[in-house]
Symmetry: C2
Subunit: 250 residues, 2 copies
């Protein structure tokens, strides 16, 4: 059991909170960044949801996602305004009280003059009971970590700083290895043999991604696996298949 | 009832299907485009999910989302390769059979020579029973529309062509009007009066979006409403509040 746990994949979901993403007003730049980041450190991002600034929606999504994955990351809704309801919603999802946290007030005072620390800005220090703070090196107002849920800002530069802050403390799995092979063939030309290779290499994930450039339609075949030997075996099979298709020696 | 139905908001969810988005390999460009597009035609995008190329995940998400919203749009997973399982998953979600559709074969033959229409490419003509096809002016392989679910390609140019194809047939609501007001104040400076205005204008959505430029931290206040008079009243209240805060005459 200990070995199985040690090699089990570490998974995550991301919950993006904000009307502005759903209306199109703001274009999300966090999903792709977090996907890259987690992949690089050996955590599998398995699901993303975007929900509006509505308490019921946030509570339901937090509870659905935190129960399914090792970690749930959230972005957005932790500023000082009336539409920033993430902290209160997460407290409600966990069924814990939420109050002004003296540690968070101290962080805010590193940047904000005491006379400017009005009631709105003090809202940024509301932290659910039992949560650890996540430091914000950019603008000081902290995120927090409660249970397996990590609550971060929506502003990309701040979110990125918070992710750097929590990353060393995250449990990570065996890293997914990946190799991309340019097919110089259309997706439909090689789909059948590629599907056969995928079936013959069940522990390897084989993806096929069409693109086109000045020379026309083409395909990248991406082979992914946690086990290096299995990755190389599948890669060799794909390369041999492509060589045969192009009429070259394998 | 007829009047209520005519003015009820028309809602939508978007389901993005693809391992490549979750691994970070491909950066999604469809969420923001579809959010803008639906907002412009009077459909409220209420939720987005991103799931991997796994049948159980796709079926569960399709069934959860199609029951909650007027429309569900999906992107990705309708190509010719083994990892393109969206059509089969949607058929399963609806509990209907799926077969090669002669109308879809005819569309494919507009572009693909008969001798190149191999078994893989024929997979792109697999359409759930009862679905209408969505023409693809870019590369011919169609999407489809079944119940309230509209299945589109993941490649942005193709998805955009399909959206243009279905848009005239969609039910749309009263369009959300929106005005953006540059505050020339930090979010925390105006958060309390802004929250009071939001409370006093319950049919108006007021969002506060911090940004920073060469002059430092600043805020855009976005006021949104379906009713023009209510929008203008809230806008006037925000502008008066900002004028007072800046010490100018309202």
């Amino acid at each position: 059991m200990a070995d199985a746990a040690a090699t089990a994949p570490v998974t995550a979901a991301l919950l993006v909170i904000g009307d502005e993403i759903l209306s199109g007003r703001t274009k999300d730049r966090n999903i792709g960044y977090i996907a890259d980041y987690l992949t690089a450190i050996g955590i599998d991002l398995k699901e993303v949801r975007v929900v509006p600034d509505e308490e019921d929606e946030i509570v339901a999504a937090v509870n659905a996602l935190r129960q399914r994955y090792t970690y749930l990351f959230t972005t957005g809704g932790i500023g000082p305004t009336h539409d920033d309801i993430t902290a209160d919603s997460v407290a409600k999802a966990f069924g814990v009280p939420i109050d002004e946290d003296p540690r968070a007030i101290a962080m805010l005072l590193e940047r904000i003059r005491p006379e400017d620390l009005n009631a709105a800005r003090r809202r940024m220090a509301r932290i659910p009971h039992g949560a650890e703070l996540v430091a914000n090196s950019v603008s000081k107002a902290p995120g927090f970590w409660i249970g397996n849920v990590i609550v971060m800002a929506g502003v990309p530069a701040i979110m990125q700083a918070m992710l750097d802050e929590v990353a060393p403390k995250l449990k990570t799995g065996v890293k997914m290895q990946s190799v991309s092979i340019r097919a110089d063939a259309k997706e439909g030309d090689i789909a059948i043999p590629l599907g056969e290779i995928a079936k013959a290499h069940p522990d390897v994930i084989i993806g096929s991604y069409p693109f086109n450039d000045e020379r026309g339609f083409n395909t990248n075949v991406v082979v992914r696996a946690r086990d290096e030997a299995k990755l190389r075996a599948a890669q060799a099979a794909v390369e041999a298949m492509l060589a045969a298709w192009h009429g070259r020696a394998a």
